[in-house]
Amino acid sequence: MSSVAPARPDKGEAPPPSRGGVADRIFSVNLRQSGIYVAFALIVALFAILTHGSLLSPENMSNVLVQNSYILILSIGMILVIIAGHIDLSAGSVVAVCGAISAVLMVNHHVPWPLAVVLTLVAGALIGAWQGYWIAYFEIPAFIVTLAGMLIFRALTLTVLGNQGIGPFPDQVRTLANGFLPGYFGNVGLGPLGGADLFTLIVGVIGVAGIVLTQWRARQGRAGYGQNVGPLPVFIVRMALAAFVVMFIVVQLARFKNLPVVLILLTVLVLAYTLLTTRAVFGRHMYALGGNLQAARLSGIKTKSVVFLLFVNMGVLAAIAGVIFAGRLNQAGPTAGTNFELDSIAAAFIGGAAVQGGVGKVVGAITGGLIMAVINNGMSLLGAPSERVMLIKGLVLLAAVAFDVWAKRRAGTSR
C-alpha cells in the first residue's frame, strides 16, 4: 500500500513532540506504572528501619502474608470488577455468608470437607450470578446492586448462623487457612541465618528460575518480531532484583515454618489471573469495555456477558476468601468479613486502578493490598493505636489516587 502515500507532505499530522516532551512523557508513564512498586519498597524500608528489623523477621513476614491472604484474594476479583468500570460493595458480606454456608455444611451436617468447599464455591458463584444479572442485564448500577447485596448477604449470614458462631472446622480446612507445608526433605543450615527448610528453598530456586526463563523467552520472542525490548543490562538488573526479593521472602519463610499453604494458593491465583488479564481474549474484552463501553459493544464484544462473568468470578473468589477466613478463626461468625470490601477496593485503587475503569493490573492490586498490610502491621509493631492506623491508611489511599489523577492530567496537558 505504498501508493497510499499522499502527494503533499501533510503537516499537522502527529507533530513530532519536542525532545523535552518525550523525556517527560516516558518519565511520567514509567512513574505511573512503577510508582506503586517504588512506594511499596519505600514503605517496607521505612517500617523495617522504624521497627529495627522486626517487620522483616521470619515470623512476622509469614504472619503478614497469612493474615492478609483473604484480602489479597478478594483484591484480585475486585480489580477485575473495577477495570470493567464497576464496583463491589458486597464482598465482605459474601465472605461472611460463604463462611457460614461452609460451616453449616461441615460442622452441622458433617459433609466431607472437599465436597463442602466445592458447594461453598458454587454458592459463591450463584451469589455472583444474582448480582451480575441485575448489573449486566437489568443495567442497575453496580454501586446500588452490591450495596443491596451488602445488606442482603449479611442478613443471610445471620439467618444461616442463627446469630451465633459455628465451629470448629475440620483440621484440613484449618491447615488450608493457617497451616504450613511439612518439611519434606528436612532442614539445612544457612550459616549465621540458622536452619531453613530445604523444600521451601528448592521451591524458591525453581520459582526464580521460572520467572527468569519465562521473562527471557518473552523478551527473545518480542525481539524476534522486531519489537523494542530495551537494553540488556536493564533486563539483567530487573531480573536480579526480582530474584533477590523472591529469595529473600522464601529464605525468611524457610527459616520460620516452611511455606504457608495459603501462600501457595495465592500464588497460583495471581499467576492464573495475570495470565487471564494479559493474555486471554476474555481479559482483553474486559479492558476494552472498561476503557470505552460503546466502542467495545460496536466492536462485537458481548459486553453484558463479560460483566456478568466478572461478578460470578467475584462471588467465587469471595467464597474462597470466606472459607479461608472462617478456617483461620476456626469459626464462622456473624461479623466475619466486615469492611473487607473496603480494604480490597482500597487495595485496587492504591494498586493503580482508575476510577473510570479500563486500567489496572492484578499484581498492582496485590501490591496495593500489601502496602496496606505492611502499614497495618508496621504500625501495630510500633504500638500505634488503631485510629492512627486507620488515619494513615485513609491518607495513603487518597494520596495514591490523587497521584494517579495528577499524573494523568499532566500527561493529558503535555501533548
Binding site: M1, V4, E13, G226, A280, N292, S299
Partner: protein, 515 residues
C-alpha cells in the same frame, strides 16, 4: 442600512487546533428582521453563533462584534445574555424534573432576599407562556412536555431575559409539521414585537417562508447575504450558494471495477428508541456491489447514521423491520458479532466516543474487533498481535512512534486510520464508513480517500456517509440521498451534481409550512 443594523460581526476568524473553523466571516443583521443562516454541516454556522453568544469568549477569536451600536467583548454566555442575546441550542437544555416555571427562571430566579417568591414565579411564567402561545400549567414538569412544547418553553425563557436578539439553532429539526408551523408563526409574532431573530436551518422551504434575509456560509467563510424579497430568492439559489461551484478539494484518481451485488437492504424501517412513534428510517432500499464506492448524502437528522447502525447488528433503534441480503441470500443480523461474522464493518462518525479505547495503545485497538480471529483457543498471541498492528501502522502510514502509542494522543487523521485498520483486520466484504474524514486535515483526507479506493479495488463494497458533498462527488461511483428517514434519490457519478443532490437532501415530502 447602517443605522438599522442591530448586529455587525466583522472579520471573525476562529481557529481550533488544526482546523480553521471560521475565516474572516462577516454578518450584518438588521433590527427587527428574521435572518437565516445556511450552510452545509461543518460550514461554521454553530461556531459563529457560539462566538456571538460568548460560548467562545472574547480573545479566543479574531474580529469585531458590534451589538446595538456598541462594540462587545463577551466573556461568557451570561455576559451576552445581559446584553439581550439569547441562544437556543438544538439540544434543548431544560431540566426534566423541574417545572416549566422553574426552568424559565433558572439562574434568573424571582426571589426576595434569597428566598424564591413562588407566586410571582408562577404568575410571571404564565404570562410568558401566554406570549408564546403555550397552554400549559407553569407547575408542570418539563419532562411531561413534547419536544415542540419544550422548544416554546425555551423561547419563553429567552423572553424572560428581555431578549433583543434571539438565536435559534435548528429549531424545527426534531419537530413534527404542526409544531414546526406553530413555531414559525410564533417567530413572525416576535418579529412584530420588535425582536430580532437569527435562525439556523437546513429546511430551505422554511427559510423561504419566514426569513427576511439569508447569509450563506461555506467552509468557514461568508459566501453572500441575500435579501429574500429584493433578490427574489429561490431554494435553488440558496443551494447553489451552499454547495459552491468548484470542487476545490483534490481527490485521487480511481477507475472502479464493479462486480456483482454483495449487500441489499430492502424496506428498512427503524423507530427512535426514545420516541417509539417516530420513524427515523422509513422504507429504505439500498444495494451495494463489489468494488463499488457508494455515497450516502443527507443533512443532519436525515437518518443516515441510524440506517447504518441499525443494519450493523441493531446498534441503534427499536422496532426494526426489513430484510438484508448478503450475496443474494437473506441473512439475519441480531448483534454486532453477527454483523462482523457476515463480513460487515461499520466505522463510526464519532471515533472518540464510539470507535476507540483512547486509553489503550494502537495495537490493542486494532485487534479489538478481530480478536477472535487472532486468538488461539481463547489466548491472544502477543507477538502475532504486534505484527498485525505493525503491518497496519506501516501500510496505513499511521504516524506514531510505535504501535504501543496510546490512541488518545494521536491526531484525528491517525486515529481514523487506527479505526480503519481495526475494521480491515476483520476482513469485511462491506465497509460502512460514517464521516470518515470529519475533523481531519486536508493531507490526511487524501490518504483516507486513497485507502478507500484501495479497499474497493480489493473487491469490498464501501458505503461512505458524508456531509461534504464535494467529497461524495469526488470519490463515489454512485450516491444515495436521504431526507427525513427516506431515501429520496439515487444518482450515478456521471449525473451527480451538488445541486441535484441538495435538492434530494432537502426534500421534505409531507411538510406543509403554513403561510
Amino acid at each position: 442600512m447602517t443605522d438599522d443594523a442591530i448586529l455587525r460581526m466583522s472579520g471573525i476568524t476562529k481557529v481550533f487546533p488544526g482546523v480553521k473553523a471560521l475565516q474572516d466571516v462577516n454578518l450584518v443583521v438588521r433590527r427587527g428582521e428574521i435572518h437565516a443562516i445556511c450552510g452545509e454541516n461543518g460550514a461554521g454556522k454553530s461556531t459563529l453563533m457560539k462566538v456571538l453568544s460568548g460560548v467562545y469568549p472574547h480573545g479566543s477569536y479574531e474580529g469585531e462584534i458590534d451589538f446595538d451600536g456598541e462594540p462587545c467583548r463577551f466573556s461568557g454566555i451570561r455576559d451576552s445574555e445581559k446584553h439581550g442575546i439569547v441562544i437556543i441550542h438544538q439540544e434543548l437544555a431544560l431540566s426534566p424534573y423541574l417545572s416549566i416555571a422553574e426552568n424559565i427562571f433558572l439562574g434568573n430566579e424571582r426571589a426576595h432576599r434569597g428566598l424564591i417568591d413562588w407566586n410571582r414565579t408562577n404568575a410571571d411564567a404564565a404570562e410568558l407562556l401566554a406570549r408564546v402561545g403555550l397552554d400549559e400549567n407553569p407547575v408542570t414538569p418539563a419532562m411531561d412536555l413534547g419536544v415542540g412544547k419544550q422548544q416554546l418553553v425555551e423561547i419563553a425563557k429567552a423572553l424572560s431575559k428581555d431578549v433583543k436578539l434571539l438565536i435559534l439553532d435548528e429549531p424545527t429539526a426534531a419537530l413534527n409539521d404542526a409544531d414546526s408551523a406553530h413555531l414559525l408563526d410564533l417567530l413572525r409574532g416576535l418579529r412584530e414585537q420588535g425582536i430580532t431573530c437569527v435562525i439556523i436551518s437546513h429546511k430551505l422551504n422554511e427559510i423561504k417562508a419566514i426569513a427576511d434575509s439569508t447569509t450563506i456560509l461555506r467552509d468557514g467563510r461568508t459566501i453572500e447575504t441575500l435579501d429574500m424579497e429584493k433578490d427574489l430568492v429561490t431554494e435553488d439559489r440558496i443551494i447553489s450558494g451552499m454547495v459552491g461551484r468548484d470542487l476545490e478539494h483534490r481527490f485521487p484518481e480511481h477507475e472502479p471495477t464493479i462486480g456483482e451485488e454483495v449487500l441489499r437492504i430492502e424496506d428498512w424501517t427503524v423507530r427512535s428508541p426514545t420516541q417509539h412513534e417516530r420513524l427515523v428510517v422509513s422504507g429504505a432500499n439500498l444495494t451495494l456491489r463489489r468494488g463499488e464506492i457508494v455515497g450516502l448524502a443527507g443533512l443532519m437528522g436525515a437518518g443516515r447514521t441510524e440506517l447504518a447502525m441499525s443494519v450493523f447488528g441493531r446498534s441503534y433503534g427499536v422496532g426494526i423491520t426489513g430484510r438484508v441480503y448478503k450475496d443474494g441470500k437473506e441473512i439475519r443480523i441480531k448483534s454486532v458479532g453477527d454483523a462482523i461474522k457476515h463480513g460487515i464493518a461499520y466505522a463510526t462518525e464519532d471515533r472518540k466516543r464510539y470507535g476507540l479505547n483512547l486509553i489503550e495503545d494502537i495495537k490493542r485497538n486494532v485487534s479489538t474487533a478481530g480478536l477472535r480471529k487472532l486468538a488461539r483457543r481463547g489466548w491472544v498471541p502477543d507477538n502475532e498481535e504486534f505484527r498485525v498492528a505493525e503491518g497496519y501502522r506501516k501500510s496505513m502510514n499511521i504516524k506514531a512512534p510505535s504501535v504501543l502509542a496510546v490512541t488518545g494522543k494521536l491526531s484525528g487523521g491517525n486515529q481514523q486510520k487506527v479505526v480503519l485498520s481495526k475494521w480491515l483486520f476483520t476482513d469485511p466484504d462491506v465497509l460502512i464508513l460514517d464521516e470518515p474524514t470529519r475533523g481531519i486535515d486536508v493531507g490526511a483526507k487524501y490518504e483516507i480517500y486513497s485507502i478507500i479506493n484501495e479497499m474497493a479495488d480489493q473487491g469490498k463494497a464501501v458505503l461512505v456517509i458524508s456531509s461534504e458533498l464535494p467529497e461524495l462527488l469526488g470519490i463515489c461511483d454512485r450516491v444515495y440521498a436521504m431526507s427525513a428517514g427516506r431515501i429520496t434519490g439515487e444518482v450515478s457519478r456521471a449525473e451527480a451534481t451538488p445541486e441535484r443532490l441538495m435538492q434530494f437532501m432537502t426534500r421534505y415530502d409531507e411538510e406543509q409550512i403554513a403561510q
